[in-house]
Symmetry: D2
Subunit: 437 residues, 4 copies
């Protein structure tokens, strides 16, 4: 966890105290269920909740000190709680195993982390929609391979991102469902010493599903899917960040990250306004992706469980969720305040001397009866002249001066092919698909 890439709400989920609070709630809910089943006295559960109602401080240092001796975290915690609650606490944890607590806690943490990430995505989607609609018909050049292709609108770029992040939201909602299960099934998952109804009760209280069949642990394919999904979302973050980085290049400069008055771009070059936020997002995406493989390697635990997954999860549980939360919020800010320069977009669009319309001419020629091969040759020989002139020559004029072309198309027909609006006839259709009717 890197403080500068952390936001408080997400970081709080992973604080030791937060973890111990969930531990307590699991133990106390389980004790309720055990009392209901007559396994432990009702007074035991009451004692626990009574103490809890005092809103006690969790003394993390004291628990750590006990763990230093026992070398077992859950026993250390139970010992500390017993010191606070008194004799009735001995009924806690009856028939349960440490992993019942640990794994169910991780489910709660990942579910809560998901809720924050889903809210982050909702805010990002809002901002993308607003800015997409704002620039629905702002002309800009579409580029494939970094080379000018045909006109698009800036709003279409953002609509594309919106659709992508909406898919990501759906994926995360699925991954949340995958991860949000409770297991209270005992040492090897047989419920030998704890009734399945305890699991059902705890799950219901925590808003989790029951784990249909656990071993000692909740199976790690669930977590693997979860972190893989975060890796996909991070890759989409990188995609949009990369778009902004490209647009902010000196030679392109169609958009810029917001630049606050006090900000300095470079200790050496005062004129510089660098896309540092989106470059940073590119790096953060690499990290979130880097956590996917360890999560996948965690799946093949030995037999009913080994504990190799645990250290991995101590890193990636916080690091992946905190980093992605930060990245999504940062990306939202970038889009929200992005400086967009329509004049520059138009200027760039115009600089290729009309080459972007070459495809339409090509089609018109074939429809006028020229073979596809010939049409291609005619367009390309004129296009190449424009290209080599670096936009000084106009494709439209060259075509009108090419007798082989004018044999097939009239001047008016050629002119008609250079209409920008033609390219935007279906923008409404696409926006309807993305944002609804």
């Amino acid at each position: 966890m890197i403080p500068r890439y952390s936001r408080p709400d997400m970081a709080a989920i992973w604080e030791p105290e937060a973890r111990y609070r969930i531990w307590f709630e699991i133990e106390a809910h389980a004790t309720d269920a055990l009392a209901e089943l007559g396994v432990v006295p009702k007074s035991a559960a009451e004692a626990l909740w009574k103490w809890w109602a005092t809103n006690p401080r969790i003394d993390v240092a004291a628990i750590d000190a006990i763990e230093a001796v026992t070398k077992h975290d859950v026993i250390a915690f139970l010992t500390w709680v017993a010191e606070q609650v008194g004799d009735e606490a001995r009924f806690m944890h009856q028939g349960m195993t440490s992993s019942d607590v640990l794994d169910t806690t991780l489910s709660v943490q990942l579910a809560r982390a998901s809720d924050i990430l889903l809210a982050d995505l909702d805010r990002l989607l809002e901002v993308l929609e607003r800015r997409a609609k704002e620039h629905k018909l702002t002309p800009t050049i579409g580029r494939s391979h970094g080379i000018h292709a045909e006109p698009v609108t800036f709003g279409l770029k953002l609509a594309q991102a919106h659709a992508e992040f909406r898919r990501n939201r759906a994926r995360l909602a699925m991954a949340r469902e995958d991860i949000a299960t409770a297991a209270i099934s005992g040492a090897v998952g047989t419920f030998a010493n704890v009734d399945p109804r305890v699991e059902a009760h705890v799950a219901a209280k925590l808003g989790l599903a029951i784990e249909p069949v656990s071993t000692q642990v909740i199976p790690r394919d669930r977590h693997a899917m979860y972190f893989a999904t975060l890796g996909v979302i991070a890759s989409s973050v990188e995609r949009l960040a990369t778009e902004v980085r490209h647009l902010q290049r000196t030679e392109v400069l169609e958009a810029e990250e917001y630049f606050s008055p006090g900000q300095k771009g470079s200790s050496a070059m005062p004129h510089k306004r660098n896309p540092v936020l989106t470059e940073n997002l590119t790096g953060l995406a690499r990290m979130v992706r880097g956590y996917v493989t360890p999560a996948l390697e965690n799946v093949a635990l030995w037999h009913e469980r080994d504990i190799s997954h645990s250290s991995v999860e101590r890193y990636i549980g916080p690091d992946a969720t905190i980093t992605l939360d930060f990245a999504l919020v940062r990306l939202t800010g970038v889009v929200d305040k992005l400086l967009v320069y329509p004049e520059r977009m138009q200027k760039n669009l115009d600089r290729m001397g009309g080459l972007v319309h070459s495809q339409r001419v090509l089609l018109a020629l074939t429809q006028a009866g020229v073979s596809r091969e010939d049409a291609y040759r005619l367009v390309q020989r004129n296009a190449m002249k424009v290209w080599e002139s670096d936009g000084a020559l106009s494709l439209q004029e060259l075509l009108k001066a090419d007798p082989e072309v004018t044999a097939a198309l009239s001047t008016a027909e050629i002119d008609e092919k250079f209409d920008l609006g033609y390219h935007y006839r279906h923008v409404d259709t696409i926006f309807d698909r993305v944002f609804g009717g």
Copy 2:
């Protein structure tokens, strides 16, 4: 693609001829739609289908030869088709861009690959269910950390695998849906020169959804999610394979891969029967996982597209699907024919002198009023003697000879705690959860 790790049906999807066949169908369906819209003559579409009805051989070498000159695969293909069909072929591909064909083709291929993988999973689930039910109550020791814990049944192990692969089936079905879209949207996704109705027609004919907003390409977050899902499934393959490898160890030998009469385990040691299939599956899982990161790196294409994803997909499209198909079928065979040794399972279960029942004694002591700490100490001091005797001593007998224990529990009470059946009271519940009522 490694021939020895390939099955014909999956490999066939990725053959050049199969790819060209899909290309043709996309072009021909698109020509139908264009004809319907009046953009091209109906005779053009008819000419294409008429030729197709002759079930023509696709001359891959001839197309390759054209590509060697044009350095463009789709143009090479269109040129070759035009040579076969004649003049009417010039109307093909009107307003489309190469990626319309390439990306929609990849969607078809991945959808078909998914169908094979889903069928593989169905067969694996069948076999897991059969063998789980066969061994529903076959006692075996559950192990955490590789150390004996408490009894489970062999059927429970397989039920766990069943639940895991059923989750994987659901994930793959989702990933298939994610990947199965068609884009016929032109050079930068604006439908500038091709009506959206062409896309809708082609999508419907191929059983795909339309891509709501494409650029020149279908966005690669879809593919990233797809290959990430394959990586999760491969990790589950590794988990079950690792279980078999452990069970086949000389000292454990509770199960073995089927060993055919002609098979030789080692050129040097004729007695050896090695779990080579499941070791092989472990390696294959590493490969399928290895394809996840390149797929994630493919997401951040530049602007409306660059072509860096293409070479990656030429590798991982076939390699990931072919390898996982092979692995799932191999795993199914391993489970189907797995030699299971219940006597050995019982022998291993017994060898710890009853230590596996220690938890029940611990609980009984606390329920009889002994503090948890004292109960733990009493059980552990006897358990340690058993442990150090390597199973020669019996925990049951030692406890009955320990006055501090017998002060709390009668002999009959102690004996009752060593009943194996006690551990299996909830097996029905778990099987109901996994396999239904």
Copy 3:
């Protein structure tokens, strides 16, 4: 292995026949040593070499057919050789284990692959040096964050790449040394049934070092280091490829991949000249990187060995070396024939109105006694005007019109700071560092 990304020499190393040829040589050299030690008759070795001198065809299909029965590749091969050579062949493989042959063969293959890759790097270094010297003083703008920074030369960019690939050459030479060991140590590496002198003889004949301590296999940390090194080299390939992709952008266009007369950039847009080779290299780099993690996961084999590494190596042995070989040669071609446009570089350099010289002015101000903070403020306020004018205004002129600036610096002093040559005073020094005196 993807044919279009393969070169014949590297692919040949991985053909089944090539592998069997190495197998035979290992077995025959070992038989020589065994005969020398008196373990087997000299006639046995003679018989093997006599047959080999006939340059026999290796019948891969026949060996495969035997393996289909025995399910053991080395036994299948030995059986087939025995069929060819006759009775004397029974002395072959005495005291050896399959892995002695397999692992030593892989060492030979990877050493040969390294030799090709080293030669590829040598050729790339030659081309980089030639073109770096050609453009040693070709002015171009240096960019950080994609934003114009200060002037560099195009030769410096290539010198940087040269230094990077020379480091990579040294790394690969180390990795080759790491991988080039022979193990002929028997079933668990104890030389129980084969004298260490056999290993020494075979190693010497094949140009390998002996493996100091093997188990049954050569330890896989060696291979992990090897493939990790390929991953680093691939990342450097991506770096230089990315540079070219950026330079070829429509708005930048300072350099272009060579564009052959017959080549078509797009089926739809005939004017397009896309950096498809370097985009392709970007994708290939992702693949070579993707093979690193499986290689790392191969290290932790169980006990004296398991065979999970084998399937991984069947993929990545060929795929990583073939792909990197192809990529290095393609990259060399790109650099060799790269179209460089010095006029465009100069034009881009000039377009920022002299902003690239701001740092020098900043320094001059501080040296003239202005506080760093004030100097920064003075430069930035003028720089911002230039920036906002998109290069229409001149920083040099604005500074000369700013009284606070001219209070510290004379007009002549200001003018002197805008000399491009100033930036290139140390180019010789850097070239000396990279290319020697």
Copy 4:
């Protein structure tokens, strides 16, 4: 950084204060060199060192507060230092760029981290050597595929690990050399405003090499190689950890992690002694490996640099080195105190009824003139009986009762093949190879 997986010396390298101390030293050494060259007054350098001689506290919070405004870390630091030192401080950082400081600092940090890791490896090598020699001739079964193969000694297992970690030490020393360079070359690496002699001076003072050609940054292939090397070492850690985990399995129990008196293995099962340290090491290895790919992705920065690498390095710089340091020390402790059970090793060795000697019999038969195929058949048919008896039958006795065998080998000859010492004749040779003469 996870506190429980951190050791103080390594963590200290990455503390903000430590970083700022290196920043200061770089700036002050550079100012010395600038003064020597007459660029700045000598009094400037003197003022810096005079302040430094007071051993001033670095006020991290104050610097952070300035950065919150300037959004630039180096400017914030310089501003704070100027507040402390006074007017002379304005000569600091003359002609330098932030990355000169940041990248050279990272080199210092990684070099220091390397020194700790090298010392860790030295201690691990010592412990491995001591325990290897202690168990040089402790018989134990060698296992391939988890199946008993032939006898080895426990010392040989540790000698193998020693050789592997000695290779890793050499690799790390190379990686340290690769990473330990200083760049003080200005905004785009041209030394435009800072003489190369400043770089040489700073490098010498810090014990670094000069970076032959930098851009604005030190090229990231160096760091990629560094982190890849850590990934290889981590994989070796996993290998040895996995060996211990296997040896500690209940059924094998040939060695155990040291179990301290106060330690509790399980909250539920008091008899359990789990290999939790080595399982933990397995997880930590996954994390260190997980950092390799982000480091590789950092190589392809745009043009003269972008800053995407920075956030990645804020994570993996500390996390990879701290985690590996912790893992190496933990592994050293595990080996140092490992409980080794030679009696159990002997017992396991004996349990297969002599099957481990089958290879020697096979060889003897072929040397006695039996064809390899027949010899294999004879040994296997007897071996299979032993196998199926689970070690109750003796291969030695069965062979002596098999007329086809005794037709080729006398009883004495058969008995001679079952001598364990035979397998250890070359242990001295191997130890000499690994540990010297």
